[in-house]
Each structure stands twice: as structure tokens, then as C-alpha cells.
Symmetry: C2
Subunit: 283 residues, 2 copies
């Protein structure tokens, strides 16, 4: 990965998130086709929740995407959210690095926008698309806190459904009261992904945001905190691995047993283990 | 927390999860009322996702729960999922410890069952309830992998809705093909939480599972891996705090900048930082 890093330059990561059923996979599929027509190689990382309540649509989406996976110039990788904390964004970032180094410069990361891990992944993209659909009008007030911070471009998919004007108006109202520190005004794009409508316009909006990012200072301003966070995540992950390597499982089991027997409290155990792993605080 | 630990003995943690709209808050409310009639003090920790796509029902639920919060003998604490990785389950566990030490021995943790963090929290409960509702029949095949591992008791809420028999049959089919290593056969309880129906039966099912856990060896078998995981989580969290304390933010910013300028790759930086923090690998 270290050696691939220089070759990964120029990879542009597009994060796509939205509630289940918003049509993320179809939109990603269509966007990939637009980029293919521009002769760009497209890498797609689809993050699938392994939570029991993610619903069944995901399997269907994956199957639908199969059609695209036979297309040369498109590489699709599906990753599961199950796994240790901090591990997922690290794994996704590593996958994106490999893809970018292999010449896939348009990189799309698709996640179901539920759960903090998934949202974190999309936040680290160069541009973040948030998908909405008409008919979720009642919910929009409740979600406004989170939505503002994530979306660079808002996509109203299924724009042929009833309630388009209402959701667009509510979204505009919300956007009007928030001013982003970087000065970008999030765009709203209407699409009907199943018919490929609005996808070219979406690609253009993405280009406009990319140009905006190119303004001196802008990208750094936005991405520096994210780069810092990524470093911290990788550091945490590395140290967790260290810990597992240094503390034998039998010892951990023994401590866990003593905790269950209420012989030792977990706070004292953690102090013991820190000492044991040679990671104790310096005084 | 260390000093409270001994006093927390006897706290019994009931985890409740289910998809948005399954009626978790209403069920928790009703279950708390049953325990109050048995003169038990009830602590409730409601974990609210701060994800933008969790929907608007949560706010309403909280408001509804207010009625219960004025009831003496019930303590409700709402916690948000936003925050650093590993921090949430640690924070929830700490809150439960305080409640148990304060004499709230029936502890209910409610989470929206989406996202790995939320599922992890419910897994660490003494008993885990999974809420389903009729009409999600098509989805059940897709969710079976995750559902089996989590639920000790399955609650079909809104049992007066169409599709009850179908979901119950599908659930039974799924349960019949899985045998749990601990030998417990998950029970299925029908409820209509809004009318308080089936709640006494649910409380009885919880008691049966608690008795089962009391069988010598059973509780340890099930909870030892979880206790071990909890210790590892706490350890990770502690070390993350150590890291932040040892590495000045300006240094991290500098590294992040060099990473963005592609001057250094993140993998090399992490090695530098490990050395810097005095947490390098022992050779």
C-alpha cells in the first residue's frame, strides 16, 4: 500500500448515501455509465450493512449491479460493515487506494446512510452525494441536523414521484438557513435513475464541486480534518492489533472471568492490561 | 465507577432492538410499567442514532416516553450514537453500571437496529429482544444471517396487523434450522404494545431466559466472549485517549498536510506516530 500510494494520485472519490430504497445502486450504476462514456475507468466500493434490519433490497441491488460488473473498465467491490470498529473506513480507504493506483480514477463509495460508520465513510469522500426521495417530507425536519453537514450535492431521486416539489422546497429552506464554512452552496439535482434521467446533470454538478475544491486553499480547508481523522483511525487500528498480539487470549479470558465473578472491576483490569501490554501512561 | 462496581451486582440488562417504526419505545414503555407493578426500579438507556437517515419517529418516541419519565422508580437516559468509535458501548455500559448501583436492577437498553455499533450494544445485554412487525415478510430471508445471532426472544409487535401468521411462520422456519451453541430455543412472543397486549407474557419469557442463564455454566458460556470484548473496547478507548494526549494536534495537522500533498503516505506516517507516541512495536 505504501508503494502504491504515489500511483493513487488523481483518484476522485464520490460518496453516495441515502436511506434504504432511495435508489442508490441504480444511481451509482447510471453514474458509472456516464463516466464510461467519457472513457474513465470507474471503481465502485459498495458497503453493505450486515445488520439484521437493513432490509432485503440490498441483495437485489447487488444482483442488478452484476450487469455493470461485466463491463470492462468498471471494478465493483462489495464490503461488509461487520467487523471491528475503525476497521471499516480503513479497509474502504485501502481498497480505494488500490483502485486509484490501478487507474480507476473515478471512485464511487456507496453506503446505506444509517449508522455512524457508514456516514463517516461518506464524509471522507472528495464529494458527498445525499439521496432523497419524494414522500419523505415529514422526516426531513428530523434529519436536518445530520444532513447539512454531509451533503455537497443533494440528489432527489425518483423525481417522477408525487411530492417532488414539497421535498425540494423543504430542502431549499433548510439549505438557506445554513452557511457552510467553506462557502459552497450545496446543489440540488433531480434524477430518475431507473430511466437514466438527470444523471448527466449530476455528473456536471460533481464536476462543478470538483472545480470549487480546486480553488486554492479550499480542498485543504475541507479535507485536512478528515485526513487527520483518517490518520487517527489507522493509528487506533494498528494499536488494537498490537494489543491483541501482546496479550494472550487466555489472559484476557481470565480477566473476563474475574470481571464476571465481580472479583475485579473492568476499570482496574484495563489498568492492569495497559501495564501488561507495555502501554502504561508515562508519569 | 470503580467504587460503584460492587454495588451494581444484580443489574439485569434487557437489550431491545428492531427496525425504525417497529414500536420499540412503546414496548419499552409498557415493559417498564410491568416491572413497576412488580415494584422494580427500571433504568432505561435509549440510544438515538444521529445519522441523517434514521427518520423522524425517534423524536416523537422520546416525547411519548416523557410520560414515563415523571414516574418515580423509572430513570430514562438518552444517548446519541454520534461520537468516536468504541466510545458508545463504553458510555452505555458505564451508564448501566451507575443505574444498577443506584438500585435500578431492571435495565433496558433500546437501540435502532441499524449500524454495527447499535447491534454490538444489544449483544452485550443479558437478554436480547428483537422486534419484528408483520408485513416485513419479504425481507426476512435477507436478514436471517444477522437476526439469528442476536435474538434470545423475538417479539412480533403490532400483532394485530395483517401478515402475522406469515412472519411468525417464516421466523419459526428460520429458527428451526439454527441450533444455538448454548442450547436455548429463542421464544416468539406476540405483542400489541400500543394496547399493552402480550407484555406480561414477554416479561415471563424474559424471566424464563434469565432462569436458563442461571443454569450452571450457561451464563459464563454466553457472556465470557462479551466480557472479553468489553475489556478490549475499554482498552482501545483508553489508548485512543492516550494518543490524543501524547501527540499535539499541530503535529497531526502537519502530517495530515504532508499526506494530502502526497509527500508522505499514511502508512509511513502511522509508523512515525507510533514511535512518536512511545507505542512502537517491541522488537
Amino acid at each position: 500500500l505504501k508503494m502504491l500510494f504515489p500511483a493513487a494520485e488523481g483518484g476522485f472519490v464520490i460518496g453516495v448515501t441515502g436511506s434504504p430504497g432511495a435508489g442508490k445502486s441504480t444511481l451509482v450504476d447510471q453514474l458509472a455509465r456516464v463516466y464510461r462514456r467519457q472513457d474513465e475507468k470507474v471503481g465502485i466500493v459498495a458497503v453493505d450493512p450486515t445488520s439484521p434490519f437493513s432490509g432485503g433490497a440490498i441483495l437485489g441491488d447487488r444482483i442488478r449491479m452484476q450487469s455493470l460488473s461485466t463491463e470492462p473498465g468498471v471494478f465493483i467491490r462489495s464490503m461488509a460493515t461487520r467487523g471491528k470498529m475503525g476497521g471499516l473506513s480503513a479497509a474502504v480507504n485501502d481498497a480505494l487506494l488500490v483502485l486509484a493506483a490501478a487507474g480507476y480514477k473515478k471512485l464511487i463509495v456507496e453506503t446505506v446512510g444509517v449508522g455512524q460508520d457508514e456516514v463517516d465513510i461518506v464524509k471522507t469522500a472528495h464529494v458527498s452525494l445525499v439521496l432523497l426521495v419524494p414522500g419523505m417530507g415529514d422526516d426531513i425536519q428530523a434529519i436536518k441536523a445530520g444532513i447539512m453537514e454531509i451533503g455537497d450535492i443533494f440528489v432527489i431521486n425518483k423525481a417522477d414521484h408525487a411530492g417532488l416539489n414539497r421535498i425540494e422546497q423543504e430542502l431549499k429552506n433548510l439549505l438557506s438557513i445554513v452557511s457552510r464554512p467553506d462557502g459552497w452552496t450545496p446543489e440540488i439535482v433531480r434524477t430518475v435513475a431507473t430511466r437514466g434521467e438527470g444523471i448527466e446533470q449530476l455528473a456536471q454538478a460533481i464536476d462543478r464541486y470538483r472545480e470549487f475544491l480546486g480553488t486554492p486553499g479550499k480542498e485543504e480547508e475541507r479535507r485536512l480534518p478528515l485526513a487527520r481523522e483518517r490518520l487517527m483511525d489507522m493509528l487506533r487500528e494498528r494499536i488494537a492489533r498490537e494489543l491483541f498480539a501482546r496479550i494472550p487470549e487466555s489472559e484476557l479470558d481470565e480477566y473476563a472471568r474475574r470481571m464476571m465473578d465481580r472479583e475485579l472491576d473492568p476499570y482496574t483490569i484495563v489498568e492492569h492490561l495497559l501495564l501488561r501490554a507495555g502501554l502504561e501512561e508515562r508519569r
